[in-house]
Amino acid sequence: MQSTSSMTTEDLKALDVARNRAAAMVKSLEVIEGDLMHHEPLPNWPSLQKSSALLLRNITFLLESTATNHDALQRMHSYPLAAFPGQSQSNLLHQLLRKKLEPHVEDWISEGLGHASKFCEMGEFGEGPTVGQKEGGLDEYDVSELWEWAGPAENDIARQVFTAEDEDDEDEDDEGEDEDEEDEPMKDAAPAKENEPPRLPLGTVLTYMSTGAVPKVVDRAKDLRDQQAALKRQQAPAGMR
């Protein structure tokens, strides 16, 4: 940068924050790439899920920091000094001076926009209606509404898959009558779940089995669930951006 005097400490801080966030994001990308490349049987799904959640969080942080420091970052330009070793660091120089995105990055973006334009209006990003687009695509509001609904809905479905086995079994018993009420068990499952008493911690049962002490009902599991739910609520607005 030519004149450091024109840069305030805030600007420097904004740059620094953006750099840190980007570095963190690159690192988690590399971790995922390494996992996928070098593990001969693929890594198991919980670890993949964890690293993708981590990546998503890093991206969210990066977007947040660039959004808050948008003005400062917009103002900045790079002016190489004469003393810059242009011969030995030509790659870095080109990267710094480049105004447009690299061709293959542009290809990615247009590909992504192409997919998106099939079902939603692109507004300022798109190049008019494309071939695949149907009339009355989703606008920005619809898309964000869809995402807000889809996250919790997916969780509900997963929970039903894992916990609704006993309702299924009841189904098989009275097969004759359930043709027209196939959705019934699912509807029943949700309220029954809420009325169900909380699970006793394993430790309480074990203590009871070894000492015969009548266990006090300490609902640690529920506390944990509430805590996680509260955390999720806090993180939700950040994730939607």
Binding site: E167, D169, P197, L200, G203, L206, T207, Y208, P215
Partner: protein, 258 residues
């Protein structure tokens, strides 16, 4: 005999599913398990920790303390009776009793719980009279209901604890008759099942044998990963020692309190 243990918990809704999965894993049909457990504790209260050091302090000044005997721990023990469905129908059982003692799990983090256990079958006589004769008293009774599998060297027990409904009455001896099976209710109101995987190792003091058992149990844990999370609970949850409880002032006789 040493026992290596791992525990997991699963909701009632998944019980049927896991029964089938385990049948596939162990390549055998589930074997029904019904057990009646009676928990005994010593009638004597444990000494206050450190009280053996203070005892007789006034005379002990000139004497050298020859040895400091550590206060001996008192332990809960159990009598176990293996029952069948028929026993519950007839509401009485003549099945033999077994005396079970489980030590406090070893310290040291092997990734599985390691504890010493011993079980002795009563061949004849009145087991309850024997227990009382050794200064024990009945604390409580419970029933274990579930299924057992054997997979390689691993005993897999998928079970839950059932208790008789109503308040725990101060029974002096085990009930002579059994309740009906339907009248028993789960200790855990949500009906959660417990999966216990255990290996029993002969006590010949060979650490290599225990390590081999630990490895096999850990392999089983990995096998069930994503299905049931097996874990070694905190060792003090399986503590069978009788805890010292200081007497509160309210319980002291009036003369002593004044």
């Amino acid at each position: 005999m040493y026992e290596l243990l791992l525990f997991g918990q699963l909701p009632r809704a998944r019980h049927e599913q896991l029964l089938k999965i385990l049948a596939g894993v162990a390549a055998m049909q589930p074997q029904r398990v019904l057990e009646r457990h009676v928990v005994y504790r010593p009638q004597r209260e444990p000494d206050e920790p450190g009280s053996n050091l203070r005892r007789g302090a006034s005379q002990g000044i000139v004497q050298k303390q020859v040895k400091q005997t550590v206060a001996r721990d008192l332990y809960f023990t159990q009598m176990v009776q293996t029952l069948t469905e028929e026993d519950f129908k007839e509401q009485k059982s003549a099945a033999p009793w077994t005396l079970q003692f489980n030590d406090v799990p070893d310290t040291g983090d092997k990734g599985v719980t390691v504890r010493m256990v011993s079980s002795t079958d009563f061949v004849e006589g009145d087991p309850h009279a024997y227990m009382v004769g050794f200064g024990n008293k009945v604390v409580s009774e419970y029933y274990v209901e579930g299924h057992r599998y054997v997979h390689k060297n691993i005993l897999i027990l998928l079970h839950r604890v059932l208790t008789e409904p109503g308040p725990q009455s101060a029974e002096q001896s085990p009930k002579p008759s059994l309740p009906t099976f339907d009248s028993l209710s789960s200790l855990d109101p949500s009906g959660t099942y417990i999966l216990q995987a255990s290996i029993r190792v002969v006590d010949n003091g060979s650490p290599a044998l225990i390590d081999a058992g630990v490895e096999e149990l850990k392999a089983f844990k990995d096998l069930l990963k994503g299905c049931v999370e097996l874990d070694a609970p905190d060792r003090l949850l399986l503590d069978t020692r009788v805890k010292y409880q200081p007497k509160s002032f309210a319980n002291l006789p009036p003369a002593a309190a004044a």
